[in-house]
């Protein structure tokens, strides 16, 4: 058995979870999750009726712009929301146990051992006045009940496994002595320390260089595979999730607007927002000075309630119906859900787009036509 295998250790405290091998059904099951915050302007509806499942050892990508509620979603799943001014409803089941019904003192025993999270900014997520070593061994000692030298040895193995050279030396460093990529590796080591079955990674590579980003993503993928751990990868960059996830959910204004197997999502995009997001990214294959297809406007204010589809004001396909009725999530083939009245490359969608182009709707005009090369 590898020194990193969590089964080597007894769990020191907390409720005993049935081992994952013996269970049927998905690992994580989120049902009709709502999270809203009280603010000066009323309630901010950050997550509105999100439902999805993640199978054991699978990787789900959650993609959305800033303010789409994706970070609040991960925190709602973990149970890391502030205690006041927040309302959460719906259920989050991990291996069949409802986390929303658990007291924080019980939930705490699952953090690290069953589920772990990696935050966006490794600079602020690590404690600046505690050496890296103690931050890695903390959960090993408290959750797994290892003694000092066992924890030290395990931490060394962990740091080596996330690609940190000279781990002995790094254990004695403070976070500020490490580069951003190194700190993110330490964060990953801490998250993996107790062998979680579910890893949530919230923008793990934003702010890192492309070369380091590729290294970190490869590291996460390798860890996921070796430990048959489920991974939820949250990002604003479709490119990050494109070749590293089994499934992708696209979020907009607190809702999932499209979800499909990764290849399916790219090949058979239905939701205009997903399409617009893909097209707004500069492509290496395009010649330089290709005009980008920006999505006009910006995400809606989540503190106001408007009827209809939240993407309607920016959508090239928008029709009157979109402004009046919220489109429900519909099924388009196995595992593919989308919320749109006039889906991409459907007869009604094409018609809607053509009508908007004819009427000179700016979003539609900017969206169609061959990519123009700037003079």
């Amino acid at each position: 058995m590898s020194p990193l295998d969590p089964r080597r250790f007894r769990r020191a405290h907390g409720p005993e979870f049935p081992p994952s091998e013996s269970l049927e059904g998905p690992l994580l099951e989120v049902t009709d999750l709502h999270t809203r915050f009280r603010s000066g302007a009323g309630w901010v509806r950050a997550v509105e009726g999100v439902t999805f499942t993640v199978g054991r050892g699978r990787a789900l990508g959650i993609v959305g712009e800033s303010g789409s509620g994706k970070t609040v979603l991960t925190r709602s799943i973990m149970g890391l929301l502030p205690t006041t001014g927040v309302e959460r409803s719906g259920t989050v089941c991990l291996s069949g146990h409802d986390l929303t019904a658990m007291a924080p003192s019980v939930l705490r025993h699952l953090w690290g051992t069953e589920m772990a999270i990696i935050f966006q900014d490794p600079g602020t997520a690590l404690n600046p006045v505690v050496r890296v070593g103690r931050q890695v061994t903390e959960s090993l000692r408290k959750r797994l009940g290892l003694d000092r030298s066992e924890a030290h040895q395990t931490a060394l193995a962990l740091l080596t496994s996330v690609g940190i050279a000279a781990p002995e030396e790094r254990m004695r460093s403070y976070p500020h002595e490490l580069s951003g990529g190194m700190r993110q590796r330490v964060m990953i080591a801490i998250a993996l320390a107790c062998g979680p079955r579910l890893l949530l990674a919230d923008e793990p590579t934003t702010g890192l260089d492309v070369t380091v980003q590729a290294q970190i993503l490869d590291l996460l993928a390798a860890a996921q595979l070796q430990r048959s751990m489920a991974l939820v990868l949250v990002t604003h960059d479709l490119g990050v999730v494109a070749d590293r996830t089994d499934e992708i959910a696209v979020m907009y204004a607190g809702r999932i607007v499209e979800q499909a197997a990764t290849a399916d999502l790219f090949a058979h995009t239905r939701m205009p927002y997903t399409e617009a997001l893909m097209r707004s990214i500069p492509q290496l294959a395009d010649p330089s000075h290709t005009r980008l297809r920006a999505i006009p406007g910006r995400p809606p204010d989540l503190s106001t309630v408007e009827p209809g589809c939240r993407f309607a004001p920016r959508c090239p396909y928008v029709q009157d119906r979109c402004r009046a009725q919220v489109p429900p999530l519909r099924t388009a083939g196995p595992g593919h859900r989308f919320a749109c009245w006039y889906p991409v490359s459907s007869p009604e969608g094409e018609e809607a787009l053509a009508r908007n182009v004819a009427a000179g709707v700016p979003a539609a005009v900017a969206f169609t036509g061959a990519p123009e090369r700037r003079p």
């Binding site: 990050v240 707004s280 290496l284 297809r293 920006a294």
Partner: protein, 335 residues
Amino acid sequence: MTGSGTAALRGEDALLRVEHLVVEFGRGPHRVRAVSDVSFDVMAGETLGLVGESGCGKSTTGRALSQVVPPDSGSVRFDGVELTELSGRALRQARTKVQMVFQDPISSLNPRRRILEAVAEPLAMWRVGSKAERRQRAEQMLEAVGLDPGVVGRRRPTEFSGGQCQRISIARALMLEPKLLVCDEPVSSLDVSVQAQILNLLDDLKRSHGLTMVFIAHDLAVVKNVSDRVAVMYLGKLCEVSSPDDLYRSPAHPYSEALLASIPQVDPASGHRSPALSGELPSPTDPPSGCRFRTRCPRAEERCAVEEPELRPVGVQHYVACHFPLARPAAPAET
């Protein structure tokens, strides 16, 4: 990669000509050569893209252009004037023509200032026009960057998103009608959808205001989109200078190739290329001898440790600083 040498320089008529630029920080054993003998030029109306990892000296180079960070040696010739020799009022006057846009749009605006005041401030400092005229110019400029001055003018930066703050920063940078705009990672903190808006805006403004740009970024796809010429930097030196289409089709430097390979591709059908680059940037206080990239280079040989490669031509307007450049496809028919 260490590319010293001036082979990539073109004629004397360039708007900006940087030769043997050196910028150092710190003292004693901690002295860091952030920029180490870099030479390049930018023709009027051109956009030069400067790419590289964090710590490669690209931001320092950008700052040294407008003498925000005074260079230790080398020359920065802008529009016929040697900027390194100027000081005091003459330098400030010259700087009005070289403006900067920074990475973090929110912290580059004074949170207590109202937007209209912040945008009009450059004019107020140079006492251009009356207060009403300055106000009017600021309103026009806000409109030019796609904001409604009636709505945003009285507000403060905290009320805006990153993308909007970046538009405001761009408006402010253009108030004194600069000839050269140095953009230091202007879109790297923005969402992809907003990023596309800002890139299109910069391109529109470049044409409408006759701007020349130095565009600093770590995202190669973004750089390719905006640039007429790309310079790749590593650890304070230039490794490759080329037209963007040529560089992306046939990179000559192993580092450029590795950078290209690490870009995540949106199309999963394109297949995942694993990064050819391992490890991190070596410490700039004690850079490797010879070619600075050799410690991470898959093609490194003994010669790379002893002899520093100089920039030399490998194609039409394509220069590389490498002893063993990658083979190029036969005769690219490019102008």
